[in-house]
Amino acid sequence: MDLYEHQGKELFARFGIATTEGRVAFTPAEARAAAEELGGGRVVVKAQVLTGGRGKAGGVKVADSPADAEAKAAGILGLDIKGHITRRVWVEKAVSIAKEYYFSITFDRGAKAPLFMLSTMGGMDIEAVAVDHPEALARLHLDPAIGLKPFFVRRLLFAAGVPKPEHVGVGEIIARCDTMFREMDAMLLEVNPLIITAEGAAIAADAKVTIDGNALYRHADVEAMRDAAAEDPQERMARERDVTYVKLDGTVGILGNGAGLVMSTLDVVDQVGGSPANFLDVGGGADAAKIVTALEVILSDPKVKAILFNIFGGITRCDEVAKGILAALDQLTIAVPIVVRLDGTNDVEGRRLLSEAAPPNVYPERTMLDAAKRVVALAGGR
């Protein structure tokens, strides 16, 4: 789950990471009030969107007074930044910037270790730095069996060429970010820029934080930060019902068990001339009720002209899937044809249930390829 900058900074403050002081605002008037609460001086008004590039898009403005903050917020709220509509801004005290650094911790699945990156060339696109000035980007994997020790922070600071007088301040941010990264189950924690003020202090001036969805059960406070309004309605429905759904642009609704099989099904549908309307993985061990729910999610997309069930049961039992299809036909108004391919655990029983009920508009197929061809034909091609 991705956090807004202001939410990330709320966590920064909790872990003692030096950051900017600010307030979140949903209206221009709130932005003015926030600027007043912050002392009435110069502030920065920043669009809160879950995407990058907001600076270039005009989503970050300096304001010299509360009235100016109100005006700047009015210009930013509602702004479309790469398809994300700005619905909130963060108003923070302006700080004197002497230098801009970059710091991040990424959960590196390939190396099976957190990757720490630090650069004195911050504030800009770090991927460009990595390409154009690779020597300016210090990259170090932390051995989780050792954990963050002083030597590791020193290596990072020396490798990035941070001047010695700044080691304490920047090192403190690194160490506290490590604590937050672990304790909050973060998958990404990025500070860009990490500012060195004119007085030599280190401050985390931006916050990009992603929390592991599997760990949210123990971070109710983070779960509560979720901005349901910003989510795609179908994807929200899917999440709330615990199925994995990604909306695509085509006409063939696809439901399967297991991410790999569903991806493969998308490929095959594409190869035989169809266009997938979605990716939907019901996961392992789905029962009938979950199948009903998943069908509801698919059907909420009006572009769907036909649906393909591609189930290869392992922990999922085909008889449960068949029951779910029959229950859905019973409970929902389903106008589109459904092609069903059942294989694996309890497949014989599942196929028997379907053939006995013999509902109209349900087309059983025995192989994945045949099922894909059939559903594309029913959907009327691409």
């Binding site: 989780p144 998958m187 592991d212 061990g285 290869f312 390829l369």
Partner: protein
């Protein structure tokens, strides 16, 4: 002789008394797997259809000589269960449980790896050596005994490939589902190393998907260390960039980690890659029929 699970497997099931735990344990035993014990704290002394249940894995190991554990507990107890198995002397842990926080898995992995304790999963279907043993949730009826070593990041996709191979008359030495989570215990490379050393395995099929760079690393390993023929299938050619498709394994951003890039990397090292399950089965069949 197959790999990982064989006639030598003596299985203890952690979480045996749960609904899924009981169902799959008994299926594994019905298949012929030597299931020696189950563990559910507080139910020590009882049994599940004749399989003795213990309070701790240590008790189960001492009393029954279990050497392999299957973890079937809810995700928030799974890391504890894996540490318990390792601490009790279990040599292979097969973790079916999914939804385990990545940081917890990192701690488990970091502990097991230098100690040589094997872990399959989490969020994996287990391993099946047809005719010998089945540990996990792989539907065994799909597979026949033979010479194809099959290793996959995806569960159900593995069954699909296996079924296609079976229709072509090809059997398997072992089917290994390594799982698609950010941190899994066994990599493609680990499985390739085992298959290369296994006499029964004549050729190897790897089933990958978009995201990460495990397939690319496997390609390098194959070029350097694998003498047996290797085939591959990659899922996700039509996945749009920047979307998370299901498990965390399937994240793509930019060109790296795409199905096309993986296909290219594998083919550059001499691995023949199919773009759908039927095609990979055809490639393998054509090779064997030569």
């Amino acid at each position: 002789m197959a790999i990982l699970v064989t006639e030598q497997t003596r299985l203890v099931v952690q979480g045996i008394t749960g609904r899924e735990g009981t169902f799959h344990t008994l299926r594994n035993r019905d298949y012929g797997t030597t299931v020696v014990a189950g563990v559910t704290p507080g139910k020590g002394g009882s049994d599940v259809d004749g399989i003795p249940v213990f309070d701790t894995v240590a008790d189960a190991v001492r009393e029954t000589g279990a050497n392999t554990s299957m973890v079937f507990v809810p995700p928030r107890f799974a890391a504890d269960a894996m540490f318990e198995a390792a601490d009790a002397g279990i040599g292979l842990i097969v973790c079916i449980a999914e939804g385990i926080p990545a940081h917890e898995m990192l701690a488990v992995y970091t502990y097991l790896r230098p100690r040589g304790i094997r872990l399959l999963g989490p969020n994996c279907p287990g391993a099946l050596s047809p005719g010998r043993a089945n540990v996990g949730i792989i539907p065994a009826q799909v597979f026949a005994q033979g010479g194809v070593g099959l290793v996959s990041r995806s569960g159900t996709l593995t069954y699909q490939i296996g079924a296609e191979l079976a229709q072509s008359g090809l059997g398997n030495s072992t089917i290994v589902g390594i799982g698609g989570d950010p941190v899994v215990g066994t990599s493609f490379i680990d499985a390739l190393e085992l298959f290369e050393a296994d006499e029964q395995t004549e050729l190897i099929v790897i089933v990958g998907e978009i995201g990460g760079n495990e397939e690319e690393k496997a390609a390098d390993y194959i070029a350097a260390h694998v003498t047996k023929p290797v085939f591959a299938y990659i899922a996700g050619f039509t996945a749009p960039p920047g979307k998370t498709m299901g498990h965390a394994g399937a994240i793509i951003s930019g060109s790296a980690g795409t199905a096309a890039a993986k296909k290219e990397a594998l083919e550059a090292k001499g691995v023949r890659v199919g773009t759908n399950p039927t095609e990979v089965a055809e490639l393998v069949t054509a090779h064997v029929g030569r």
